[in-house]
């Protein structure tokens, strides 16, 4: 138990140290860099012309990929404990995972056949 918490404490210390390093880099940068504001510098980059606001909705395809990813992520969460304990679990677990994966593959097949995986 002690070992468990200490491991996570080490990770937490490491995370704080990493954030601290970014902060330190930005802090040093702030001290040494010049600052000469001109309004033109703060226009978003767009091939030299003034940017047109209001644009920027993304394509629905990206959303479908994200959705497929959620599905496969949930599947991964089940497949990890299955994988590390397969030897003890035996045939029934193997079969149930094959069924699980086949059902999920049906989802992929559906998306594929409906053409949402097509990028044209």
């Amino acid at each position: 138990m002690t070992q468990f918490y200490r491991n996570y404490l080490a990770v937490a210390v490491f995370a704080v140290a990493a954030l601290g390093m970014v902060g330190a880099m930005l802090g040093v940068g702030r001290l040494v860099r010049p600052n000469r504001p001109q309004p033109e510098k703060y226009i978003a980059y767009e091939a030299g012309s003034d940017p047109i606001r209001g644009f920027g909705q993304s394509n629905v395809r990206y959303y479908v990929y994200a959705l497929l990813f959620v599905m496969f992520d949930v599947e991964a969460v089940f497949i990890f404990p299955w994988a590390i304990n397969l030897e003890a679990l035996g045939v029934s677990a193997l079969i149930s995972m094959i069924v699980f994966i086949l059902v999920l593959t049906l989802g992929l097949v559906y998306a594929w056949r409906k053409g949402v995986l097509r990028w044209a």
Binding site: F4, Y5, G54, V64, A66, N85, K114
Partner: protein, 162 residues
């Protein structure tokens, strides 16, 4: 006062403040980011309870996939470079309703677990979890796959224009 309890309260307070942030902010992307803090806080609480598998599943699924899906959805439906501010005039009813919900849940939880102590001897082993899923809960496990399939098909039907 043991160190876990101190950590619990720090995380809990951060979670509550961020949860308030989720509903208070009028910028949808900021709300999603506050939600990430709340979910990460829940994961940290799981780690304090030595349930590390559940903790990282929480990060993987909720932060790594579901909120990302939210963000894709926001970018799909609203123009990120235009005005993102959303608000409506139902603050008071919403406040009353959420207060009532907090009250009910708190009363229920205190009533059920108010006096019980959590004793953690060892971190939960992933192999134990796996034996439970694949020996005792096979049917719910397979039902999950059907549920996911249904969600996907539904979303694709909605997303397609024809």
């Amino acid at each position: 006062m043991v160190a876990q309890n101190v950590a619990f309260w720090i995380i809990a307070i951060a979670m509550v403040l961020s949860a308030i942030g989720v509903v208070r902010t009028s910028n949808v992307v900021h709300a999603a980011l506050y939600l990430v803090i709340v979910l990460a806080g829940a994961a940290a609480q799981y780690i304090l309870l030595a349930a590390e598998f559940v903790a990282w599943v929480q990060v993987l699924i909720y932060i790594g996939a579901v909120v990302i899906l939210f963000l894709f959805g926001i970018m799909l439906t609203r123009s990120p470079m235009g005005d993102l501010d959303l608000d409506n005039s139902q603050r008071m009813p919403a406040f009353v309703a959420s207060l009532a919900l907090v009250g009910t849940l708190t009363a229920l939880l205190v009533d059920a677990f108010g006096n019980s102590k959590v004793v953690i001897d060892a971190p939960t082993k992933t192999s134990v979890l796996s034996s439970d899923i694949f020996r005792l809960y096979i049917v719910p496990f397979e039902a999950v796959s059907i549920l996911l399939l249904a969600a996907l098909v539904g979303a694709i039907v909605l997303a397609r224009r024809d």
